[in-house]
Symmetry: C2
Subunit: 247 residues, 2 copies
């Protein structure tokens, strides 16, 4: 089932885990030896749906994905953003009913691992259990910062904050060839991320450009001076726990 080394594989995931948790060589080998299958999806494809029961944990090897929930009136909110290297569904470890939708933001390459295989690793290898818990806790910490963002910052800071977060999270795996400064979302998706409307994202983006925080070419948005963005955003990267190894 495993494929050649230039195909999507588990190495980027392993690198991501090692960025926050130490793993002995034999545990690294155990992860590298996990059986998996590969899947390629187009933008907006559903990876998992609310209400389903999951038996599988996809790993995002290339591209972006997001978790999303909607109200009955149709309001749609993106509640998490996943970047290359991220495991997409530790949320379903031992909790099989999925409470949100998981969708591809761009075209994505996935590597699919059975949740039961992860559960076996957790039961038998404490260092892996630890790494997975840390991974889950860091996603939870990001969620808390997003709550602060939605609850207490205005549109300008909110957007600047999201862009800062993207910048620093991508630094950790710095994988693909694509320019890390290019924002991969449409204005509508930015709206869904930030609890705003596309129209207001447009106005806010224009204001960020006026202040030199982003540059734009055609439909594309590119990050400008990170210092400018940070000061607009009231940003501190503590919540990303990027230096957990040093702790």
């Amino acid at each position: 089932m495993n494929t050649k080394s230039d195909q999507p594989g588990l190495d980027i995931f392993l690198r991501k885990l090692l960025s926050h948790s130490p793993l002995p060589a034999e545990d690294q080998a155990a992860i590298a030896a996990l059986p998996y299958s590969v899947r390629h999806l187009e933008p907006n494809s559903y990876i998992l749906r609310e209400g389903e029961r999951s038996g599988v944990c996809p790993i995002l090897c290339a591209g972006f994905a997001y978790r999303q929930k909607s109200t009955q009136e149709g309001g749609r909110q993106i509640v998490a953003l996943k970047i290359p290297g991220d495991a997409l569904d530790f949320q379903s470890l031992y909790v099989r009913t999925i409470d949100h939708n998981l969708q591809a933001l761009t075209t994505v390459d996935l590597v699919i691992v059975a949740l039961s295989d992860f559960e076996k690793l957790i039961a038998n290898r404490p260092a892996i259990a630890r790494a997975i818990i840390v991974d889950i806790l860091i996603e939870a910490s990001i969620g808390r910062e997003w709550l602060l963002n939605l609850g207490r910052r205005n549109a300008l800071s909110r957007l600047a904050h999201l862009l800062c977060e993207l910048h620093y999270r991508l630094l950790d795996t710095k994988s693909d060839g694509l320019d890390v400064r290019d924002v991969p979302m449409t204005q509508e998706q930015l709206a869904d991320l930030l609890g705003l409307t596309p129209v207001h994202i447009n106005r806010t983006l224009k204001e960020l450009e006026r202040r030199g925080a982003v540059a734009r070419h055609g439909r594309g948005v590119r990050l400008g001076a990170i210092a400018t963005l940070r000061s607009l955003a009231d940003f501190s990267d503590t919540y990303l726990h990027r230096s957990n190894l040093a702790d």
Copy 2:
């Protein structure tokens, strides 16, 4: 160090874990045998502070507590609400830098356990590791629903939604003598929970009362018909994973 049975102890915490995860008798005994100390705190006391490093996991035996973050401009957002039986700081398992503040909402009784003791249990007892992971994941799921609440619901639904959540979460441990229908927060705290201002909470509460969703006496607020609240809130309790054992 352990105290008599009418003092705060670990039993309510154990009950909470068992409500979502099965534990063999010897694992239950291992939890009951954890060394701990007891602490009693007044409302608004800090339990943990952002930036500190934690070595300890308080268990909330009685009363309410919350996690809270602030922007530099002073905006304050409550990002999680904890009820009796909840472990307050699994967030610091293997991630010792605290990224938020933890405060008592009411007077609280805490039982303090060393994080290293939990880490030993996780390494040696898979069923306990599982239960703790489920606990963490359910808090994360609640966080996602709150993001939807803040991002896409108006003040009336938002408040109704919070009250519904409180109602159903309290059903699971139904501990104290105090009437579970009494809302333990001030209007200012409700504002901090919902990303609103105290003034607007006041107006919204009045509207909820007008619609028969809550009753009020003096400063107190009491839940009215849960069906009314649910329909105002667009509420479904799936995200609380209350039936995880049945899964």
